[in-house]
């Protein structure tokens, strides 16, 4: 059965390799991992350095904004790594070749996790070095306890990637803008650059149902108070599990739809 949860490490490895083969010789992909994150950090970094001149009583301001932009890049790139991997198969007209092999949906989904992790590791290293070199800002100077927050952020990005892929399955290439921009679409509710408290009350409920919101709130608490907010961490983790379950159900449902309607081949048209 196509939806079986059995997985095979060799097949997952093969899928991961298939995506990673492209990186060393593809300039757009290298730009995506190195150049654009550096551009982000430079623009926001210089802006915050400028703004910091007017906030002499609050030295954390620049750090909060820099931390936010680094975390924002994590969630955005994690989402894109999943949905663009899928889109790549659509563009290359390779979906049929892939799904007539013995791979299961679990193999496919797990491969996107590993590709995402590899990308995030490279992007994280780029951002870490860039912020250290240009702004003497070491995100992890706040302690390794930021790592659970980053892990939560990565998984939420991956979940959004799975949802974007499900939408691609349902609506085909006409929905490909979401492969790039789904995370940006909900950015205003994630409280990336400002606290949840500045949102109108009814939007706060939406914001607090998003795992990433708690990560950004937690990051600000770490930077300002120097303590790890366990409540935000626990809520983000629990919400991620709920979102993960929902996103997997949507993905499986959409894949079943594609199978019933015979649309796998038509996705490439």
């Amino acid at each position: 059965m196509l939806l079986t949860l059995r997985m095979n490490i060799t097949r997952i490895y093969a899928l991961v390799l298939r995506y990673l083969y492209l990186y060393p010789r593809s300039i757009p992909r290298i730009l995506d991992v190195i150049f654009w994150p550096i551009v982000d950090i430079l623009i926001w970094g210089f802006l915050t350095a400028y703004l910091a001149q007017f906030k002499t009583n609050n030295v954390s301001f620049a750090h909060i904004l820099l931390g936010a932009i680094i975390f924002w890049d994590f969630v955005l790139r994690a989402q894109q790594s999943v949905s663009i991997s899928f889109l790549e198969e659509v563009w290359e007209r390779n979906l049929l070749n892939l799904f007539v092999t013995p791979i299961t949906l679990a193999d496919f989904i797990l491969a996107t996790v590993f590709v995402g992790l590899a990308r995030i590791f490279l992007i994280g290293a780029t951002l870490y070095i860039a912020s250290l070199v240009f702004f003497q800002f070491n995100l992890f100077s706040f302690g390794i306890l930021l790592i659970p927050l980053v892990v939560n952020l990565f998984f939420f990005g991956w979940i959004l990637g799975l949802i974007a892929t499900s939408i691609l399955l349902r609506f085909g290439q006409s929905a490909q803008v979401l492969a790039f921009a789904l995370t940006t679409l909900i950015q205003p509710f994630m409280a990336v650059f400002y606290p949840v408290s500045v949102l109108p009350k009814f939007l706060q409920y939406i914001a607090l149902s998003i795992p990433a919101t708690h990560v950004f709130e937690g990051m600000r608490t770490v930077v300002i108070k120097g303590i790890v907010p366990l409540d935000h961490l626990v809520i983000a983790t629990l919400l991620n599990f709920i979102w993960l379950t929902i996103s997997l159900l949507i993905f499986v449902k959409m894949f079943e739809y594609v199978r019933n309607e015979g649309k796998l081949l038509k996705l490439t048209d």
């Binding site: 198969e89 290359e92 013995p102 791979i103 019933n260």
Partner: protein, 244 residues
């Protein structure tokens, strides 16, 4: 001969009205090359996609190697492969990267040796460092075929494999297929619109039109049955005549 594939009352309806395939029942025996023929829109592609587990049938059963496709998809697809003129490999990967990836997807043991054997046999070894997108149609078809043979399939689905080839390369391809089919006792389900190809390659042919099987038999038997000169005329008659 063993029956490798058996469908029973296979049907597919899209939405509420579009009956793409209706009660199609047939068998493929081991070592046979079965021509699966019909005009555009006859239901061939839908049937093949059901046989590959890509489309869920509305009714009917598919049994391959004696196992039900719905419940044994992974085991079955491990022993099956597919190649089509209309489905390409990732163009931005090199040929060797494509073949390595698919060899691993099929869990091929000694995959480097297998790839070497196949690329030597298909005379595509010099193409290994090239990207798939840079290949000519003939070269791409041979690479597709190498991909389709990586797992030593017992059953191979070939969807118009010679569609984009010039007569010379198409002839070489048919000779190669004949050779490998004999050597490995490979079973092939073959779709094409080239009827002389069917006469040359296929042991048996099934004609399908408007989702239903219209007739079946050996190419020679079909020509005789309809009292026509060749299979091309049989095809045209069956495609145009709605009264079977």
């Amino acid at each position: 001969m063993n029956i490798l594939l058996k469908t029973k009352n296979l049907s597919k309806t899209f939405g509420k009205k579009t009956k793409a395939v209706q009660n199609v029942s047939f068998e493929i025996r081991q070592g046979e090359i079965l021509g699966f023929l019909g005009p555009n829109g006859a239901g061939k592609t839908t049937t093949i996609q059901m046989l590959l587990g890509l489309i869920r049938p509305t009714h009917g059963t598919i049994s391959i190697f004696g196992m039900d496709l719905q419940t044994h998809r992974t085991e079955i697809l491990q022993r099956v492969n597919f190649s089509s003129a209309y489905v390409s490999l990732p163009g931005n990967l090199k040929v060797w990267e494509n073949l390595y990836t698919f060899a691993r997807l099929y869990n091929v043991k000694h995959y480097k040796q297998k790839i070497k054997e196949l690329t030597d046999f298909l005379e595509i070894t010099p193409l290994l460092p090239k990207t798939y997108a840079s290949l000519s149609s003939g070269q791409a078809t041979r690479v597709n075929l190498a991909k389709a043979l990586l797992n030593d399939p017992e059953l191979l689905f070939l969807d118009e494999p010679t569609a984009s080839l010039d007569p010379d390369i198409a002839d070489k391809m048919r000779k190669f297929l004949k050779k490998i089919q004999k050597e490995q006792s490979l079973t092939i389900l073959y779709t094409t619109h080239n009827m002389s190809e069917v006469e040359e390659l296929c042991n048996r042919a099934i004609f399908i039109n408007e989702g239903k099987i219209v007739t079946e038999g050996t190419p020679a038997m079909l020509v005789k049955k309809f009292g026509l000169r060749d299979l091309n005329e049989v095809f045209i008659k069956l495609a145009r005549n709605k009264e079977y």
